[in-house]
């Protein structure tokens, strides 16, 4: 599969990130960068620290050491709201959907940052408030169309099958109109068809909106196919970084996955 890509400058730069919980070292001295419009995969055996890495990027965890540079601005500390405001959105490995709400409402929450009406305006729901709600509804409906979940828009998400819930998770992240999308195992637990659909969505998002994508994924086929560059983690350390083919042949990587050197 070859695509026209306009991979740009470095948009995210992680420098010497170290993260520990009590005595447990989740990440040790990790540095890598992500370029604009690219699809960057993070791979590694279970427990390597991949989810922790994503959590650091969008501020859920604060690293003990290291700096994050996003769009040229350097942060020692990031918090989730600021990350959201700066255009970083993410999905979750274990799905963090709002079980009590419908698909439509879940994705609408992704628009919350951009909704400006105050409480009083919302209570009376006069002109501007109603119009704002409708305008955001339109954006969300476009996303619903894109993800092909129109039939389920009023269903409470708790009732949907897992594959569809994952799409809603993606939809909610897309609703934030992010510059950078962090996907934590978006295809976990899916069958082949669902994976193909999800791949298509991710590629489309990257193509149409130019969103930079950082994705954690276990399926090597997917990784090799769609990513531009790959970072490999093992036991919290970086053991590989580069184009998929180079990484695939890297001895350290092979050893980490298989346990013996070939």
């Amino acid at each position: 599969m070859s695509r026209e890509k306009r991979i740009g400058e470095v948009v995210l730069d992680l420098q010497h990130i170290s993260l520990a919980f009590g005595g447990v070292k989740a990440l040790t001295d990790i540095s890598f960068n992500v370029r604009e419009h690219e699809i960057r995969a993070i791979i590694g055996p279970n427990g390597a620290g991949k989810s922790s890495m994503l959590n650091v990027i969008n501020g859920v965890y604060t690293p003990q050491q290291g700096a994050i540079e996003f769009q040229g601005k350097s942060f020692a500390k990031m918090n989730p709201r600021r990350a959201a405001e700066m255009g970083i959105a993410r999905t979750f490995q274990n799905l963090a959907l709002f079980k009590g709400m419908s698909v439509l409402d879940n994705i609408m929450t992704g628009r919350n940052l951009r909704m400006k009406s105050g409480i009083l305006a919302q209570a009376f729901r006069w002109g501007p408030a109603e119009r704002e709600e409708t305008a955001h509804r339109e954006v969300v409906e476009n996303i619903i169309d894109f993800l092909e979940i129109q039939a389920f828009r009023k269903t409470p998400v708790g009732r949907l099958p897992y594959g569809l819930q994952k799409r809603v998770d993606l939809g909610r992240a897309l609703a934030m109109e992010p510059r950078m999308l962090l996907l934590d195992e978006p295809m976990a637990g899916m069958n082949v068809e669902e994976k193909q659909d999800m791949c298509r969505f991710i590629l489309d998002v990257n193509d149409e909106f130019g969103t930079t994508i950082v994705l954690i994924e276990h399926d090597m086929g997917v990784v090799m196919d769609i990513s531009d560059r790959v970072v490999v983690l093992d036991y919290g350390k970086k053991i590989g970084d580069g184009e998929p083919d180079n990484v695939r042949n890297n001895e350290d990587v092979i050893r980490a996955y298989l346990g013996v050197s070939h």
């Binding site: 969008n58 859920v60 989730p80 709201r81 990350a83 959201a84 405001e85 959105a89 993410r90 979750f92 963090a96 959907l97 709002f98 079980k99 009590g100 709400m101 409402d105 609408m108 929450t109 992704g110 628009r111 919350n112 940052l113 909704m115 009406s117 409480i119 919302q122 209570a123 009376f124 729901r125 408030a129 109603e130 709600e133 409708t134 509804r137 339109e138 409906e141 909610r172 934030m176």
Partner: protein, 354 residues
């Protein structure tokens, strides 16, 4: 057969977003309003108005307020009685010291004071969760109980410890008769219910529900948990405060702190659980249930020829409440409102079974 969406196509998001998108629901709502505003005044006895309908309306309003906090935002509050008390006493104080203030303004000011107190006791809630918040709200309850008993300024130095209001009027119409009070309460409750419904189906409502369902994920989307919880507390306390002022002014006439005791707080919580957490209409169901049960317990055994003593009736009431709470929490956490929704679903496909 009668209740279906066939042929009702929405051609705009605005139409799809309305409170009652199905035409039959709109008709039903209009009927309910017609009965409430027109039929009841013509047919209801004074007793019905004073003992059942007015308390039902005011407690529904209070339940709506509590539901916003507990049902929509997932925070627990055991001190609702205290906030009702603040609303009532604050309105009273404004009325006594500034008699020129119109009735509605007094009531709204009462609500505002309740908001302030609510926010003050709610700020600790930002750092603590669940059961600890229950402790904080209990602290509010006991403190407020004490304050309105022992701080003479708050009761306008009343010798008996209780306060009373008189000569209530709105736009020059006196509010003495049960009917006038009923209509006043009905109007206030209807307006507030609409405002509350607008809030919960808008952006702030979604924020509240996001915090309730998964607050970590909510912060990742950019929702500030602190802001959401505080606004939930504030809006909830305001509504509850207004309800408290109405309770004192319209229902009791004269009151003392006991009227807003812990028992009342629990009662409101039960209304919300039984009626349906996270549902405006559920608040009405819950209030109706709580108001009607004692009446039923007092009258039905009598009619069946098995009189119960007042004490026993009260104990049975406790058992029924307790049992129902457990029942609903286990079987149907969305309470009577969900049962109502299920009934409507069945009605949609009637006369077919599925």
């Amino acid at each position: 057969m009668f209740y279906r969406e066939n042929g009702q196509f929405k051609t705009s998001y605005r139409a799809d977003q309305q409170i009652f998108p199905i035409r039959q629901d709109r008709i039903f709502m209009l009927l309910v309003l017609a009965v409430a505003f027109l039929a009841v005044p013509m047919l209801a006895s004074d007793y019905l108005l004073r003992a059942i309908l007015i308390p039902f309306l005011i407690l529904s309003l209070s339940a709506i307020g509590l539901n916003i906090l507990v049902g929509y935002c997932g925070q627990i509050s055991l001190g609702t009685g205290a906030f009702m008390a603040v609303g009532a006493y604050a309105a009273f104080n404004f009325g006594v010291r500034f008699p020129f203030l119109p009735l509605m303004v007094q009531i709204l000011l009462g609500g505002l004071c309740a908001t302030i107190v609510g926010v003050v006791f709610g700020i600790p809630s930002l750092r603590i969760r669940g059961l600890y918040l229950a402790v904080a709200t209990l602290a509010a309850q006991f403190f407020v109980d004490w304050a309105f008993l022992r701080i003479p300024f708050l009761t306008n130095y009343s010798a008996s410890g209780s306060v009373s209001v008189a000569n209530l009027q709105v736009f020059g119409y006196p509010l003495q008769s049960a009917l006038s009070r009923y209509l006043f309460c009905l109007s206030v409750v209807a307006v507030f219910a609409l405002l509350a419904k607008n809030l919960v189906r808008g952006a702030i409502g979604r924020e509240w529900m996001a915090i309730r369902d998964m607050d970590v994920a909510a912060s990742v989307i950019g929702i500030r948990p602190m802001y959401a919880k505080l606004t939930a507390f504030a809006v909830s306390s305001f509504i509850v405060g207004v309800a408290g002022a109405l309770w004192g002014y319209m229902h009791l006439g004269s009151w003392e702190p006991l009227a807003f005791s812990l028992e009342r707080s629990f009662q409101l919580l039960f209304m919300v659980i039984i009626g349906g957490l996270g549902s405006i209409v559920g608040s009405f169901f819950g209030a109706a249930f709580i108001v009607l049960l004692p009446v039923g317990l007092n009258n039905i055994p009598h009619m069946l020829g098995l009189p119960l003593s007042v004490d026993t009736a009260s104990h049975i009431e406790h058992m029924i409440f307790g049992g129902l709470i457990v029942f609903f929490l286990i079987v149907e956490p969305h309470g009577l409102a969900k049962l109502w929704a299920i009934a409507k679903e069945k009605l949609r496909i009637w006369p077919f079974p599925h």
